[in-house]
Amino acid sequence: MSMPFYVSPEQSMKDKADYARKGIARGRSAVVLQYDGGILFVADNISRTLHKISELYDRIAFAAVGRYNEFENLRQMGVRLADVRGYAYDRSDVSGRVLANIYAQTLGTVFSESNKPWEVEIVVAEVGDDAASDQIYRITFDGSVVDEQGYLAMGGSAEQVTTALKERFDKDASLGAAVNAAVHALRHENGEERDLDSSGLEVAVLERGRREHRKFRRVTGDRLTSLMEEGAASGGADPAQDSAAEEPGGGSQDRTNGS
């Protein structure tokens, strides 16, 4: 087979975009949504140590889907940038918008200048003093940024997950109800009805009211299990939810961030 002499920019961009989309669609999804106490992140992730959700700075967190080595690189870059800025100026001068912009720059440059685009989609979210000042940015593989309101899903079959999430989303929901809405949405991946229990989920929150300056906290083990039960008991009208066996997370302890 001979190489074509000329590939139009349109075709080249389209090919790269298709390639990146396919790569991202192979992985499981993650959702980000507001609840009455801040912003919740839930990812379909069985690993306890390779995270899809991480802290970037005091009020800012990161969630990603796609190729691990690529988004891990982006995560480390974000932590470095945030810490250098916060140290040079002041902690309050580090914002989600700045991080989203630098991610957009980086991904945009990789997309247009290299042969292989990065197969990642990321979210940078910053919890504000009230729900109206929360910021959620979605940055895609080509460097475009969208300022999202309320909730979003990314990865695998984002559309189906988004549709399912939309049914249950309520920005004034309690944490338990929000976790259940997120799990309900993630169960709809690829149109299948999957069983998801707390051991296959990575859950974290940016808590608006937490007293220390660091708002990010992982929710794991028994605390996650009890939140899921509480959410199912209060608002769970969905039979699929009630039937899902909820087992403690492999005996792991409730671990808060920073310990």
Partner: protein
């Protein structure tokens, strides 16, 4: 300062290189001018009183953890530069640093150490061991040696709760970064000798948290009594010593009203008995 981290344009490669989890190392590459220890000082410069100094810091362990307390005075020569300085820095969930010596450099170093620990934790997904934190601080002090030789000596005191061993620990440093672990209690600063005598008499290994704080306040009172560069509780201006407590539950700055209550009690007792509580003779 470079434009590297202003949020526009491309970042330097150091931001993308996998490898280091040290914030100080990263800063050395992307913005070396921000490192407190990277300054060239002119030869033969005199440095007396360029930066406020003097302090008394006391730390003591108790069965549940460790108490760190500091007075509030900063001086330049025989002048009081500031009456309400905060010399204690929460460095992470389970550790705190207090500084004595050149205040300007010391504060910068405490701030850098704070970011260093947090940066490591975020990059690696787990925090350093207390031993690791103590060693990291030693390296940073060692980096300050050229400045120390010109008079800007920084002497920190690191306290922390060792989550592996389940106890509070205290580490002191010399000007070249020599690290030693102190047992039971330690004091640093210009009033340290007086505070140490006081601690020696009042310390016990079975103190409840509030009693441990009381011992720290008595020691600070004794230091302020004899050292002009240490400030005592200022009841008129409502400026009291600062007290940090670190236990299994993490770091906590003791509420001002609690310190005020204990400090006022100490001052009232001293009105009756100016030299403070007596240790039994045998």
């Amino acid at each position: 300062m470079s434009e590297a981290f202003d949020g526009g344009g491309q970042l330097p490669a150091a931001f993308m290189n996998p490898g280091t989890s040290s914030f100080a190392e990263l800063l050395g590459v992307v913005a070396p001018d921000l490192l407190p220890t990277a300054r060239e000082l002119p030869q033969g410069a005199t440095t007396t009183h360029m930066t406020p100094e003097a302090t008394t810091i006391v730390a003591l362990t108790f069965p549940d953890g460790v108490v760190l307390a500091g007075d509030r005075r900063a001086t330049t020569g025989n002048v009081i530069a500031n009456r309400d300085v905060d010399k204690l820095y929460r460095t992470d969930e389970f550790s705190a640093v207090a500084i004595a010596g050149a205040a300007g450099v010391g504060i910068e170093m405490a701030k850098l150490f704070q970011v260093e620990l947090e940066h490591y934790e975020k990059m690696e997904g787990r925090s350093l061991s207390l031993e690791g934190k103590a060693n990291r601080l030693a390296t940073m002090i060692r980096g300050n040696l050229p400045m120390a030789l010109q008079g800007f000596v920084v002497l920190p005191l690191l306290v922390g709760y060792d989550t592996d061993r389940g106890l509070g620990r205290i580490f002191s440093y010399d000007a070249v970064g020599g690290r030693s672990e102190e047992h039971d209690y330690h004091t640093i600063g210009s009033g340290a000798v007086y505070a140490r005598g006081s601690l020696k008499k009042l310390f016990g290994d079975d103190l409840a948290e509030e009693d441990a704080v009381r011992v720290a306040l008595q020691a600070l009172y004794d230091a302020a009594d004899d050292d002009s560069a240490t400030g005592g509780p200022d009841l008129h201006r409502k400026i009291y010593p600062l007290v940090d407590v670190i236990t299994e539950d993490g770091h906590r700055r003791m509420a001002e009203e609690d310190v005020a209550r204990l400090a006022t009690a100490v001052v009232e007792e001293r009105a009756q008995r100016p030299d403070g509580p007596r240790a039994p003779l045998r």
